[in-house]
């Protein structure tokens, strides 16, 4: 399965630290254009801050709009980063080596993008720290709120969960990064960069004790981060599942449904990132078609389980045969603006990508995987949109209060801001630290064995 060619250590070091030593030709132009998009988004946000939430498309009764959809979408993307790297580390799969750090960095920046969405969504963002369980004493600029947050509200669980997730991702990425910082410290010429890298590397020398810690610590941390990942998206789904007044929200399958959706959209995000890295940094020797093949098979399984959860949610929404629920589902399927979105969502979320992934040639071709996974993420953004907004338009008995929602320019600008922010963040990270861990690839070279049975060569690996 693996057509593999042995590389020397210096060759690996050369290839993987090249982007860190000097920036690639395209680097500043790409980061510049992304920076421009971010500027446009931020100016929209300042306009919203100045004149109030009226500028967004939010109205009564659709009080949540594109920002919350974007928040759930980015939390979804962030999950697969940790899930892919944690599960691959726990099962010690051989093809984990090139993609674990890329996935974790994607997690890091999409989490920050998700948190920034909460800042856009809230009516008084300068008071947002009241949600966190900080003590209600006088903190510098603001009068003491005099009360603790309400622990029974899902919006207090959210910052606790996402904060835990963000902090543990940062610590996780840093512990696994120390050997590579030591490598860059040795590679880079003397100067301010060398001082910073040697401070960050904490004097890592590569003794057997330090390598054994680098072996066991990630496994221990992934075993701890996996439950965090499961709980964060369950809590995000409880933001919607606990409310009884909105049709289509109050169903118990929301926690697993959101998590499978997060894995589906997140793993596709990781595949898009991998294909992007492969194309941008010319890493053909490290990211092989087999990696795409293996992830493609995993995606087919995850997509079918997600579709089963979607089917369950729809069946049990119609099961009690209550009028508001049927009116909502009818609206989603037959009323013009929502029915087009629904069809696009079904096609891009499940049928086109999974249909394509059944063929081995598609799975092994990075370009095809790049486009199918982008389709998946478009579909998943629409899925969250179709969960939040049609439900809120309240097809209930009080028929005078039915509402609709169209995103305004400010919202579109800020959604674009988050996408640009994440891509730019990953590229800047790749510029400062090596995105594919060189020591992992070198370890792969040393552990590599070939078992020759008659004419067939089978790749083997050392298991401790």
């Amino acid at each position: 399965m693996q057509e593999h060619q042995q590389l020397s250590d210096s060759e690996i070091t050369e290839d993987l630290t090249a982007p860190v030593i000097r920036s690639a030709r395209w680097f500043w132009s790409v980061v510049g254009s992304l920076g421009f998009i971010m500027l446009v988004g931020i100016s929209g946000y300042i306009y919203e801050l100045y004149s109030g939430l009226g500028v967004t498309g939010v109205q009564r009764p659709v009080y949540w709009g594109a920002y919350i959809t974007n928040f759930v979408f980015w939390i979804g993307i962030s999950h697969a980063g940790i899930m892919v790297s944690a599960i691959l580390r726990l099962t010690q799969a051989e093809w984990k080596r090139p993609i674990t750090r890329a996935a974790e960095v994607l997690t890091l920046f999409s989490l920050i993008a998700a948190l920034s969405n909460i800042m856009f969504h809230v009516g008084r963002p300068w008071r947002i720290y009241w949600i966190t369980p900080l003590p209600p004493i006088f903190i510098g600029f603001d009068f003491a709120r005099g009360i603790w947050p309400n622990v029974r509200s899902p919006f207090v669980w959210d910052p606790v969960a996402v904060g835990t997730y963000l902090l543990s991702t940062i610590l996780f990425v840093y512990t696994c990064l120390i050997p590579d910082i030591a490598l860059v410290r040795d590679k880079v010429k003397a100067g301010p960069a060398k001082i910073i890298y040697s401070i960050l590397a904490l004097g890592f020398r590569g003794t057997p004790r330090q390598w054994k810690v680098q072996g066991t610590a990630p496994i221990l941390l992934s075993a701890l981060v996996l439950p965090i990942f499961v709980s964060v998206h369950s809590i995000v789904s409880w933001d919607f599942a606990v409310s009884i007044a909105v049709e289509g929200w109050h169903s118990t399958i929301f926690a697993p449904y959101f998590i499978i959706g997060a894995i589906h959209s997140g793993v596709s995000g990781v595949v898009t990132l991998m294909a992007g890295l492969l194309w941008l940094y010319k890493l053909d020797k490290y990211i092989k078609p087999d990696h795409f093949d293996a992830i493609g098979r995993l995606l087919v399984v995850v997509a079918t389980i997600w579709f089963f959860a979607l089917f369950l949610e729809w069946v049990y929404a119609l099961y009690p045969l209550e009028d508001p629920e049927i009116a909502l589902r009818n609206m989603q399927v037959s009323q013009p603006p929502w029915s087009y979105l629904f069809i696009v969502f079904l096609l891009t979320g499940f049928f086109i990508p999974v249909g394509a992934w059944l063929f081995k040639s598609v799975r092994r071709n990075p370009m095809w995987m790049f486009f199918t996974t982008i389709l998946v993420n478009i579909g998943m953004w629409l899925e969250r949109f179709l969960i939040i907004v049609p439900g809120l338009s309240r097809r209930t008995e009080l028929s005078f209060n039915w509402g609709t929602y169209t995103p305004s320019l400010v919202e579109i600008g800020l959604v674009a801001f988050t996408f640009a922010f994440v891509i730019c963040g990953v590229l800047v990270f790749a510029r400062i630290f090596p995105l594919i861990p060189p020591f992992d690839i070198k370890e792969g070279m040393r552990f590599r064995h070939v078992i020759k049975i008659g004419k067939k060569n089978i790749s083997a690996v050392v298991r401790e």
């Binding site: 004149s51 109030g52 939430l53 009226g54 939010v58 109205q59 009564r60 009764p61 009080y63 949540w64 969504h121 809230v122 009516g123 008084r124 008071r127 947002i128 009241w130 949600i131 709120r145 009360i147 947050p149 309400n150 029974r152 509200s153 899902p154 919006f155 207090v156 933001d239 606990v242 409310s243 009884i244 007044a245 909105v246 809120l392 309240r394 209930t396 008995e397 009080l398 005078f400 209060n401 509402g403």
Partner: protein
């Protein structure tokens, strides 16, 4: 002083949909002026709104006006979801909305089946001429804050305080304790009172009409929020049924 539990009765038979209560409420509680654009963008702030429903086909069409305000439910779904305790249930049975704690997450508005919570999208501004008519007892809400009907809690507080200071008993149905909408209703369709006090008008109505075959019903009972506002059906002599 016995603990009081405020509630309201809306007699749909008497309500003729004249919107007097809506105007009274807006002037009493410093509700911002609503421009035409607010109505188009569906962002109007009406703590009490009168909904019109038509029944029957053309020859014998019947109009039905239902004034809907915050029901101050005992098990309000909007209270536990607020992260900053901006909305909670106080000991007088009212669903209280604390404006300076609210940060505008709008979670409570999603959770209210009666949709009686409103959000300040824009900063409210009044022409100078109207500034002195603002009610000093009620905070003027800035933008980004949720607000709703509070049964004119400022009137209840002031009357209870005066009663305690001057030592007289607050008698049921007094004009100074009734909310603005109840005082302004010319056909006395809205009745407000203390449900813990058995002699009060509201508890006598509740006792008489609240039973199985009485005219009383609660709005959207199947949500299980046990609201404190009792609606009395319209009496219709033409039809065989007593009320609809």
């Amino acid at each position: 002083m016995k603990q009081s539990k405020w509630g309201m009765v809306v007699d749909l038979d008497k309500c003729n949909g004249c919107q007097a209560c809506v105007v009274a409420c807006q002037s009493e509680n410093n509700i911002p002026l609503q421009k035409k654009s607010d109505y188009d963008e569906n962002r109007v702030i009406q703590w009490i709104r009168v909904e019109r429903y038509w029944e029957g086909s053309f020859p014998d069409v019947k109009a039905k006006f239902i004034p809907i305000m915050c029901q101050h439910c005992d098990e309000a779904p909007c209270e536990p979801v607020c992260p900053v305790f901006a909305s909670y249930h106080n000991n007088e049975g009212l669903n209280v909305q604390v404006y300076n704690r609210c940060i505008g997450t709008r979670f409570c508005a999603n959770n209210c089946p009666y949709q009686v919570r409103f959000f300040n999208f824009w900063e409210a501004e009044w022409p100078d001429s109207l500034k002195n008519q603002l009610n000093p007892d009620v905070t003027v809400r800035s933008r980004g804050i949720m607000e709703k009907c509070t049964f004119c809690v400022q009137k209840i507080r002031r009357t209870k305080r005066d009663a305690k200071v001057n030592g007289f008993e607050v008698e049921d149905g007094a004009r100074e304790i009734n909310p603005a909408c109840v005082n302004s209703c010319n056909t006395e369709a809205l009745i407000f009172g203390d449900m813990n006090n058995p002699e009060s008008k509201i508890s006598r109505i509740k006792a008489k009409e609240g039973k199985k075959d009485g005219r009383g019903y609660h709005l959207m009972e199947h949500y299980g929020t046990s609201p404190n506002v009792l609606y009395l059906k319209k009496i219709d002599n033409s039809k065989k049924t007593k009320s609809h």
